[in-house]
Subunit: 116 residues, 2 copies
Amino acid sequence: MSPRSSTTTPGRQLDHPAPADIRLEAVLHACADPMRLRILQALASDPATSCGKIGLVCSKSTASHHFRVLREAGVITQRYQGTAKVNELRRDDLDTIFPGLLDTLLASAAAEAERA
Amino acid sequence: MSPRSSTTTPGRQLDHPAPADIRLEAVLHACADPMRLRILQALASDPATSCGKIGLVCSKSTASHHFRVLREAGVITQRYQGTAKVNELRRDDLDTIFPGLLDTLLASAAAEAERA
């Protein structure tokens, strides 16, 4: 009997980098996109939000792509809750590895939004 | 007589975005590269440095590309001094538009270097 055949459903686990594998370049690349910055801002103001609740103006597959980029860079976690994916900022990890970076990115995104 | 045929040499002027045209996404994209982060760190510790003095381990054309990406994103200025290009961080502009961003990026790059 496979150790994976427990109560969790194989294939429903999403990969997340370990904190030691989170790279600054990947974090910055993940945040270098207006839609992904909006996701960050939404998750900062409303933690543990499902993808659908954020209300991005794009197709579902485009939205999924943006969430995946953020997850694979170590910026957010995603976990299944029923059929929905619930997203959260990896604030503790990011604040430990790159102190101040997440808050500065959020403040810069807010400044950018005010200039538009 | 063209107004450009003065003491400046046409074609030797390098394009820089106006402060109003500096976009957060472009700044983050420009910084989402280990070599460009090294350039930022070098310019932070030794302002007004020529490309050659930074000593990047890459071809001259690759180095030129990285400096150009940083210039076009509004992160650095480049001006000719004889045959050399002199580079400077756009600290005043960046600190005005995105307060704290440049210093946080430099601190994060230093943190990243320490983990390597």
